[in-house]
């Protein structure tokens, strides 16, 4: 099923895609098939390019088409398209005819004329190229010559009817009158807005001396469409409406709870483990507060994880960035050489914000980064824009969030005013994490401080910390409060030194006390052992004493027996007593 069939509206309106994605989205399908669409605009606003690009897209799809120019020769037309990426579509092909119809220019006139001959030529050429797309570029050069404008309008109707009969889709381009009505229809085509069902207007405006282009669907009868005045960009790929998202783009990516490192360990700790993958982080601060170094640390950490990083600088040349960061221990070159880091330097004033947006989008699409760094994003905001300066950034971050790309933006704060944090408030609403780096002057020193102003979904520390930069890289140091002041730099180092000495003294004292106690314990243990030995000896002595007492008692008893025997009245002891006396004497 073709897209034309897909886009058939309930009322029978059939659409034919232009092949320019953003215009097809804005028109909800493209041009009305088998009808004429009028494109109005001042000279130089891109009418011819639009016609040629629509034709190139048709050729790309294998369709045929006819381009009739009432303003330029075939050679000039081919020269016009040479700068575009789709120029080769107009090379040797039998599916396309470019017709030079500028003979009307400078010709004399004697009364009204017909365009039947033109339609006969179109029919012949459409058959020859086997196509149904026709572009009449600069039709005003022909029709404005009609002495009666009503005849010209009638001939536009004739062209429209012819499209229907021939099943051709036609794009008419013509110059727009200055100012005038809402449609500002050309003077030579009064009331044309009532005749044709579809009218596009292209316009240009100088804002801050930069050219801004706009596209508007002034009318699209019977079809849903975007009626806003839309920013338009013409680059090497032709016309694009940068802020138009495809319906599939609106589907948001799922939020992840994965945290990735900022490249500074202690900062990760402050943020509860790092920043969320796919989130947006803003680092704002005055010039020289190391925003670029912080951004690069994040990029290098990502590369070390094997992720792809797109680093866009609006500040310095790529080679300068690499050189300067080497001095603080951040070597980008190996990652650039390894293809993980793409470093692009852009000048904010070169092109308007919409073109920066387009270029960044294209870089993202082609490089497919995991992480994006824009340093500083505030320069992008300073580039000329016809819309709010934040639109480009908003759309860009919308896209990175949807694609799960972790973005880190830096922003230059303008002065020392502490309330400066509010100046980036609008951008900060886009950011999930907002860190502020600033200088603190104390004791003749200028030190850098870092604080996390907000971090969505994170119980982050509210403490201001000192950002310390050395040849080994970045680190965060705790600051010391001294009364109402916060100590940084040398004062912090002194304080740290004092703390270290005090700590060492305390440790030494504890060690001494431990040793003393150990000695006391040992001594006491020895005393206990000695006394236990004494106790055992005394117990033994006591035991010995008791045995001796028993023997002594027996001896006494025996002695008493012998005495008693000797004192017997018969003076003689029995044999038994003698024996007993004898045994007792031996013992």
């Amino acid at each position: 099923m073709t897209q034309v069939e897909d886009d058939q509206a309930p009322n029978g309106l059939v659409k034919r895609p232009t092949g320019i994605p953003s215009i097809d989205i804005a028109t909800c399908g493209g041009l009305p098939a088998h009808r004429a669409t009028l494109v109005l605009g001042q000279p130089g606003c891109g009418k011819t390019i639009l016609g040629l690009q629509v034709l190139a897209c048709a050729l790309d799809r294998g369709e045929g088409g006819v381009f009739v120019s009432f303003e330029e020769s075939r050679k000039q037309i081919l020269r016009d398209v040479a700068a575009f990426s789709w120029a080769d579509r107009f090379g040797e092909t039998s599916r396309c005819e470019i017709i030079d119809a500028q003979s009307m220019k400078g010709a004399e006139l004697s009364g009204p004329f017909d365009i039947d001959g033109l339609l006969a030529v179109l029919a012949m050429c459409a058959d020859r190229v086997d196509g149904s797309l026709i572009v009449l570029d600069g039709i005003d050069q022909l029709l404005r010559r009609q002495p009666d404008p009503l005849i010209a309008v009638e001939q536009v109707r004739q062209i429209n009817d012819w499209c229907d009969q021939r099943s051709c889709t036609l794009l008419l381009t013509g110059k727009q009158a200055q100012g005038g009505s809402q449609f500002a229809s050309p003077d030579h085509l009064p009331g044309i807005e009532f005749l044709l069902s579809t009218i596009f207007t292209l316009s240009t405006e100088l804002v801050d001396r930069s050219l801004h282009r706009r596209f508007r669907i002034a009318k699209y009868r019977g079809s849903k469409h975007n009626g806003d005045e839309l920013a338009m960009v013409i680059d090497q790929d032709g016309i694009c409406l940068p802020y138009i998202n495809s319906p599939s783009d609106k589907v948001g990516g799922s939020a992840t709870s994965e945290r990735i490192s900022t490249g500074i360990e202690r900062l990760d700790d402050v943020l509860g483990g790092g920043i969320y993958r796919g989130s947006t982080t803003l680092i704002s601060g005055q010039p020289g507060t190391s925003k670029t170094t912080l951004a690069a640390a994040f990029g290098v950490a990502a590369c070390q994880r094997g992720e792809r990083v797109l680093y866009v600088s609006f500040d310095e040349h790529g080679s300068n960035i690499v050189r300067n960061l080497t001095s603080v221990g951040l070597d980008l070159q190996p990652h650039i050489d390894g293809g993980l880091l793409a470093l692009h330097a852009r000048k904010s004033w070169d092109v308007v914000a919409e073109e920066h947006f387009m270029a960044l989008q294209q870089m993202i699409e082609s490089f497919k980064p995991d992480c994006l760094v824009i340093d500083p994003a505030s320069s992008l905001l300073k580039s000329s824009t016809s819309h709010s300066p934040y639109v480009a950034l908003e759309r860009l971050l919308e896209n990175t969030t949807r694609q799960g790309i972790t973005a880190l933006l830096t922003s230059i704060a303008s002065d020392d005013d502490p309330s400066d944090e509010a100046t980036m408030a609008q951008v900060s609403t886009l950011a999930d994490t907002w860190m502020v780096v600033r200088f603190r002057v104390h004791g003749g020193e200028r030190n850098r401080s870092l604080s996390v102003v907000k971090s969505r979904g994170t119980a982050h520390s509210n403490q201001v910390r000192e950002l310390v930069i050395s040849s080994e890289g970045l680190a965060l140091a705790d600051v010391y409060e001294f009364g109402t002041e916060v100590l940084m730099g040398t004062a912090r180092v002194e304080k740290e030194s004092e703390e270290k000495i005090a700590l060492k003294l305390r440790e030494r004292e504890r060690e001494r006390r431990r040793q003393t106690l150990d000695q006391e314990i040992e001594k006491t243990r020895n005393q206990i052992t000695q006394q236990q030995n004494d106790l055992a000896r005394l117990v033994d002595e006591l035991k010995y004493e008791s045995v001796y007492d028993d023997i002594l008692e027996q001896e006494v008893s025996h002695y008493q027996d012998r005495i008693r025997w000797r004192r017997e009245p018969n003076g003689q002891a029995t044999a038994h007593d003698r024996e007993k006396d004898h045994q007792g004497g031996d013992t």
Partner: protein
């Protein structure tokens, strides 16, 4: 148109009249041109090309609006007058150069 007019080689080699047959303006152009030629005392009739029958000639001469009168010099097309020649003044001036 008469055979005599077509046979007038001198005028047909200097002028080409582009028409779309059946269109009222082409008819009026013929009438106005005929009257002007008579007024000028010029004999003959330009070569006529009907773009409906020969659209390829429109591409060859770069003529897309009809009626149109193309004046040809010795080295190719010189000038074009578009319209039904109802403005006789401009038609007479155009024919002056013949």
């Amino acid at each position: 148109m008469s055979e005599e007019l077509v046979a007038d080689n001198s005028l047909s080699s200097k002028l080409i009249l582009f028409v779309t047959d059946g269109a009222p303006r082409s008819g009026r152009a013929r009438d106005n041109l005929s009257a002007a030629l008579i007024q000028k005392g010029l004999d003959g009739w330009p070569r006529e090309i009907d773009l409906l029958k020969e659209p390829g000639q429109a591409l060859a001469f770069g003529m897309f609006a009809t009626p149109a009168l193309l004046r040809i010099g010795a080295d190719g097309p010189k000038a074009v007058l578009y319209g039904d020649f109802s403005d006789t003044g401009s038609l007479m001036r155009f024919l002056e150069a013949l």
